[in-house]
């Protein structure tokens, strides 16, 4: 009965969520069955039930390390955003900067971050700073590229129009370039969430004494595979939540695409659907 109800509302949230959850459950069930049928040893591939049990049993340790990693993820991500935004503005507004610095940034991307990690430890010491920098280094490039794309996505007609209204450079940036760039900016911010999680994890492989990446490296050496998987699942969940959070921010900041959040809806306004309907009616009667 409930399934029939869900199918009555195509595109409803329940249905959107149901499909991936169902697929996930199917994969997990198959995994569990295969591990049990072929009696795969835990240190090779642990069964999903075992991974869940590990998360529960080792929760104090895992979530203690998670706090360290979470801080690195957020700090590195914010650093990447600030640097990426600054770079993209400089690239968009200065031809010299674009010609001189952009190739260097691209070239720097070819250096494996893990290789410069020890150098960062030498420079900044045995603390959070090198790990935050590594996280930012992994995340900032796609971010910068999408920021630049966004800030340049304007038609020259619109800039001319703003100039005809005697708008100054700051007004053109704040009221035209920035809002026009938002779709690309959020695309970059979303990609960067997963990269920040990856960056923070690998940053802990070099010169760290805490964090989920550190824990995974330790557990791998001790062939504690179940706990490695447990950490992975927790990290993956963090990545998904982070991504979803930026998605929420995007909905909030781009109401013209996603509609206004219900708590911000203005009292006198008709629903967008009704407004469109009326627009069509008026359009027809004008003809």
């Amino acid at each position: 009965m409930s399934r029939r109800n869900a199918s009555l509302h195509p595109g409803s949230r329940t249905k959107d969520v149901a499909a991936p959850v169902l697929l996930m459950l199917l994969i997990l069930a198959a995994w569990e069955a295969l591990v049990r049928i072929f009696a795969v040893p835990t240190f090779v591939v642990p069964a999903p039930s075992e991974i869940l049990a590990q998360i529960y049993l080792e929760r104090a340790m895992i979530f203690g390390h998670l706090q360290v990693t979470l801080f690195e993820i957020v700090a590195g991500y914010l650093l990447a955003c600030v640097v990426g935004f600054g770079l993209s503005v400089a690239i968009v507004y200065s031809k010299a900067f674009r010609r001189g610095v952009l190739p260097l940034i691209v070239a720097a991307q070819t250096i494996p971050v893990i290789a410069i990690a020890p150098i960062l430890v030498i420079w900044f010491g045995y603390n959070d700073v090198p790990r935050i920098i590594i996280t930012a280094l992994v995340a900032f490039f796609p971010l910068t590229v999408s920021f630049v794309t966004g800030l340049e996505s304007l038609e020259s007609e619109l800039i001319n129009f703003f100039r005809s209204l005697n708008a100054n450079g700051l007004q053109i940036f704040l009221k035209l370039r920035l809002p026009a760039a938002l779709p690309n900016i959020f695309a970059g911010l979303k990609v960067a969430t997963t990269l920040a999680v990856i960056g923070a994890t690998i940053s802990e492989w070099v010169g760290a004494s805490a964090g989920l990446g550190y824990l995974m490296a330790q557990d791998t050496q001790q062939i504690n595979t179940a706990r490695v998987f447990a950490s992975l699942v927790v990290l993956g969940t963090v990545g998904i939540l982070f991504f979803a959070f930026i998605g929420l921010l995007q909905r909030f900041f781009m109401p013209w695409v996603y509609g206004r959040p219900r708590f911000l809806a203005r009292p006198r306004r008709a629903s967008p659907a009704a407004a469109t309907m009326r627009a069509k009616q008026i359009g027809t009667s004008a003809r």
Partner: protein, 262 residues
């Protein structure tokens, strides 16, 4: 006689070419508008009409010549006249109300007052109830009316209209013509309209300037001697047809001259 509202004298505009010699876009153009004039500029595509508007709007510097608004030069000074471009250029991230008050907002004028003015005018522009809708929810005609309301709210005495109705279907256009004429009379603005459509030019204007292509010159001026209060049915009169014939004759003069020479 008092000084003209807008006076363009002996204008010449050149684009810097690759070699030493630039390309001349506009040559020896004179244009004079009295307050509340409605004047059309008609000519073949790419003849430099939009360039002329860019110069009047202060976005482009002419090589020589003068552009004066109420006697003062406005060469290279954007913001002195209101400019409505070919596409409506409504900002998709702003509501209708936020879009139409853009001019006062950028000029640093109090927003509350601009919003009040806009709210009282929404009805006249057929946008009542849509103040908080985003442009994506509007029909083509509504978008153009919103763009014109935004232009009116810039509170400039002269309005440049660069083919504002070009993208609309014929029926919507026809109804927009009458409405536009009413708006021009009601708000007492001096308007210059760029168009490709001789009917539109004759119906709306007090004078039609016919432009010749590359470099743009004024091939001739057709004064429209129709009553200033004109309804749609004026388009069916012999006087209207005669005016249209004059405009078309000037438009096709270069071709005829060429075929005569051949």
């Amino acid at each position: 006689m008092a000084q003209a509202r807008l006076d363009i004298a002996n204008l010449r505009v050149t684009y810097a070419g690759n070699g030493q010699a630039g390309v001349t876009a506009i040559e020896k153009v004179d244009l004079t508008l009295e307050p509340n004039d409605f004047v059309s500029l008609i000519g073949p595509s790419g003849c430099g009409k939009s360039t002329l508007f860019n110069v009047i709007a202060g976005l482009q510097i002419p090589e020589s010549g003068a552009v004066a608004l109420d006697g003062g030069s406005i060469v290279g000074r954007p913001g002195c006249v209101a400019y409505m471009m070919q596409r409506d250029l409504l900002l998709p991230w702003r509501t209708v109300l936020e879009n139409v008050t853009l001019g006062p907002e950028l000029a640093g004028q109090p927003l509350a007052r601009a919003r009040d003015t806009a709210m009282t005018l929404l009805h006249r522009f057929g946008l009542e109830g849509f103040e908080n809708a985003y442009p994506a929810a509007l029909s083509g005609g509504m978008r153009q009316r919103a763009a014109l309301l935004r232009t009116i709210l810039c509170e400039r005495s002269v309005i440049l209209l660069d083919e504002p109705l070009g993208a609309l279907d014929a029926l919507t256009r026809a109804s927009m013509h009458e409405w536009l004429l009413g708006i021009q009379r009601e708000f007492q603005r001096t308007m210059i309209l760029i168009t490709h459509d001789p009917d539109e030019a004759v119906y709306l204007s007090d004078r039609v300037y016919v432009a010749s292509p590359r470099p743009m010159r004024i091939a001739g001026i057709v004064p429209i001697e129709l009553p200033r209060d004109r309804g749609r049915d004026v388009t069916l009169t012999p006087e209207f047809a005669e005016h249209k014939r004059q405009v078309l004759a000037l438009l096709h003069a270069p071709e005829r001259a060429r075929s005569a020479a051949a």
